[in-house]
């Protein structure tokens, strides 16, 4: 890990690098954010607050809404648009109370038989002293286990940055979709480059190596569907992006509608049980 690679001599990302372009689109300042989808793909959203233990984390928003006039629980990681909002939303980096709020809302939906849609968009779970003190790791871990137990349809959609465990904590779903220009990764390209080449500037090489685009992850069997974006990216035509997402949510909910509570749990379990089995074994 410590030997600098010869690739380190390469310069900054080329403007033509299609993978790095995707990373930039996923983080584009005008890209629709979770609350945009919640307000435009869904109707009648009512925000519910708090984890009942410590605080309300505004990096995660959630509550009941309607989709095609049917009640659903919608929960999203929201980054905020201007500087003031970004600070208020902690740049979309949830703290433990955010994950615990999300789980509280998901259990509520499961109890009352309402489908759940989660929108993933975070650089990662917040790495700070307070978050560690309040059990960031425990909060994420419990979400992973408890999402596996939900007895309702769960659809997770990566809308921007799927930042590692901090995104996955809302991502244990029956169907996992990604917008065409979103990314989903175990580590950010910058951190990955800092480890490999001791130079975050090599982020474009790391982005390539990590196979973090929607198409890559579809190919690896880690997601179920790529939701197309308008020419140039979601920020070029919000309305069109909302339509595409609406169609994907509709199709997903229809696929899952016939399943019983037990079948939904089993469907989700089998999906992750079979996923990412990249090992060989002598017969």
């Amino acid at each position: 890990m410590s030997t600098p690679d010869s690739a380190a001599s390469l310069t900054a990302p080329q403007p033509s690098d299609p993978i790095w372009q995707r990373v930039e689109l996923a983080r584009h300042p005008k890209r629709p954010l979770a609350l945009d989808y919640i307000e435009r793909v869904f109707t009648d959203f009512e925000e519910f607050h708090g984890d009942r233990a410590y605080a309300d984390d505004s990096a995660i928003v959630g509550g009941p809404a309607r989709f095609d006039n049917r009640p659903v629980m919608v929960i999203g990681q929201h980054k905020g648009r201007d500087t003031k909002q970004k600070l208020q939303r902690n740049f979309g980096m949830p703290k433990p109370e955010g994950y615990r709020k999300a789980l509280r809302l998901m259990k509520m939906a499961s109890k009352f038989g309402r489908p759940i849609v989660t929108l993933l968009d975070t650089p990662g779970a917040y790495p700070g002293i307070d978050a560690e003190e309040r059990g960031q790791a425990e909060a994420i871990a419990v979400n992973l286990r408890e999402m596996a137990r939900l007895e309702v349809p769960v659809i997770a959609i990566v809308i921007g940055e799927g930042g590692s465990g901090g995104a996955l904590a809302l991502g244990v779903a029956n169907r996992v979709y990604m917008l065409e220009n979103s990314i989903y990764s175990v580590i950010s390209p910058e951190s990955c480059a800092a480890i490999i080449w001791r130079d975050a500037g090599q982020k474009h090489l790391a982005a390539r190596a990590l196979r973090l685009t929607a198409r890559d992850l579809l190919g690896l069997g880690i997601i179920d569907k790529v939701i197309g974006e308008p020419e140039g990216g979601a920020h070029e035509d919000h309305e069109k992006t909302f339509e595409s997402m609406g169609a994907a949510v509709r199709a997903g909910l229809e696929e899952l509608a016939p399943l019983t509570r037990a079948q939904l749990v089993d469907d989700r379990y089998q999906k992750f049980r079979r996923m990412a089995g990249f090992f060989s074994e002598p017969q």
């Binding site: 960031q136 994420i140 286990r145 175990v186 580590i187 190596a209 989700r268 379990y269």
Partner: protein, 282 residues
């Protein structure tokens, strides 16, 4: 994530190696700097007899410490297929080969079955020397299979963690192992078979944020580094010095995330008593 490896040469040459392979009859304790006779250190399970500092030990030594006698190993030949064809300072395939030949393991976990105080248990022990104990597809599969065996035979399950987290070289595939194992632990929970998580130095990232925090009880060795984000990442984010004792076992105990901090010498007895509470002996 395994970022912390850069600062920790101990990953390449764990303390256990230093103590075992150093020439001569004595070693210097990493913590109190006092001279210890190697015999005394070995008799004390690699815990400094002067100050109680817990040296890192290998996965196999941990299993030998807990099992009554011989144990059976499972899925020994599972190997990563390098789904991303990842190349960092060297190809991941070459890194795996080198690790496999130097450790005698196919990946960073040993999955074993045997008796602990006369009781049948399954134990998975993570090997820190193997790419920082990082979790990829092989670890995910081996641990999931061990959970499935625990469910099928209703045998208590124990994981001994020592890891920097998810294995970067397997990308999102390694991330998904967190979900896969956690879902399997949901099933173990549903059938009321106990799971005990033991965290050792260091346990961070995606390992802490999945199975290591999901025990019916979570316990740790004294002085272990345990966290989600590593200390250097936090320091860079908040641009402050971290308080003394931050992210140690004792810190987690104080903040309510561990049931107990258990010294290595008392570990087997502690586990046995806990299992007695969870399940009547046959």
């Amino acid at each position: 994530m395994s970022w912390w490896k850069r600062d920790k040469p101990s990953v390449q040459t764990p303390a256990a190696d230093r103590t075992v392979r150093t020439e001569g009859l004595w070693v210097k304790c990493d913590e109190c700097r006092q001279i210890i006779f190697k015999n005394d250190l070995e008799k004390n399970h690699q815990v400094c007899p002067k100050c109680g500092f817990h040296f890192k030990i290998e996965a196999r030594a941990r299993l030998e410490l807990l099992f009554d006698g011989p144990f059976e190993e499972f899925d020994k030949e599972l190997r990563s297929t390098d789904p991303l064809e990842f190349v960092d300072s060297k190809p991941y395939k070459a890194r795996l080969k080198q690790m496999q030949s130097s450790s005698g393991l196919s990946d960073a976990v040993i999955s074993a079955h045997g008796k602990l105080d006369g009781r049948d248990v399954n134990i998975c022990a993570l090997e820190l020397r193997f790419i920082g104990g990082s979790m990829g597809s092989v670890m995910g599969e081996k641990i999931t299979r061990a959970i499935e065996r625990s469910i099928a035979h209703r045998e208590p399950f124990i994981i001994i963690s020592a890891s920097g987290g998810a294995r970067m070289q397997e990308g999102a595939a390694s991330l998904m192992q967190m979900a896969k194992i956690s879902a399997a632990l949901m099933r173990l929970d549903e059938v009321h078979v106990p799971f005990i998580s033991l965290l050792t130095d260091p346990t961070t990232g995606g390992v802490t944020a999945s199975f290591a925090m999901l025990g019916d009880i979570n316990i740790a060795e004294p002085g272990a580094l345990i966290g989600f984000a590593g200390p250097r990442v936090i320091e860079q984010t908040i641009r402050q010095k971290l308080p003394d004792g931050f992210q140690t076992s004792e810190f987690l105990l104080k903040h309510g995330f561990l049931d107990a901090v258990v010294p290595r010498g008392e570990l087997k007895a502690f586990l046995s008593r806990s299992l007695d509470f969870f399940v009547d002996r046959a």
